[in-house]
Symmetry: C2
Subunit: 140 residues, 2 copies
């Protein structure tokens, strides 16, 4: 539970930009430390800084990336696709078009998903309104 305002880290430990320990990032993102390490292993994190003893130190930029990944995760995008996107980012500027494509495809998926959910909502409302009436009928 040692959040951001804890004793040492975060803001200004050694003169450079803020660094977060893995447990701080876990608290901030809701992901577990296990998951964060796993993200790095599979290439979903773009290479996290280490302290002189080899411990991870996450930057603000890393947090931003994780926030974005969190959004992608909400869309239901498979992890493999997110990794693909991360690779494209690493490969540099000549992949911009492909990245935009990928994002636009995702955008379309999200739109579809929203429509599906709204349909479902309509069905649920009908069902629920049936339960409102006292008479029996055909309960499914």
């Amino acid at each position: 539970m040692s959040a951001i305002a804890s004793t040492s880290t975060a803001a200004s430990t050694s003169g450079t930009r803020p660094h977060y320990t893995i447990s701080e990032v876990a608290a901030l993102t809701g992901l577990t430390a296990h998951t964060l390490r796993w993200y790095e292993r599979i290439g979903l994190m773009p290479h996290v800084d280490r302290s002189h003893t080899g411990q991870r130190r996450f930057s603000e930029r890393d947090l931003g990336w994780l926030a974005f990944v969190g959004k992608l995760r909400l869309t239901g995008m498979p992890v493999a696709d997110m990794v693909r996107y991360a690779e494209l980012v690493r490969e540099g500027d000549h992949t911009r078009d492909e990245r935009r494509e990928l994002l636009e495809a995702t955008r379309r998926d999200v739109l579809t998903r929203i429509t599906e959910l709204q349909d479902t909502l309509a069905v649920l409302d009908i069902k629920i309104s049936h339960y409102g009436t006292v008479c029996g009928g055909t309960p499914t």
Copy 2:
């Protein structure tokens, strides 16, 4: 691919209501025969009729139920919860309140999900618009 209009079954084989074979239902719902059998095994199907030789014969009502289950599945509801709902239906009228509760909770989840997706959509739109501009910046 033998859809509904195939040779024998469906409409009026033996005088009673329409009966669909498992492969017809698979074609209609997009589920596999395996999955349909599995649904029955775990109690997610309310007991499918059998032919005199023991083969499944699905009714219109079964199709309606599967359509509803499909909607619930779209919400991301765990199968165990759907089974719970199916059990409540089987238990009869005194579970109406609990069923309505369950449906209303699901409704709330769906609403939350839609909001999340709309947030994500906003983020994607921002990203995509960045890719529209030619200047580099900080591509993440």
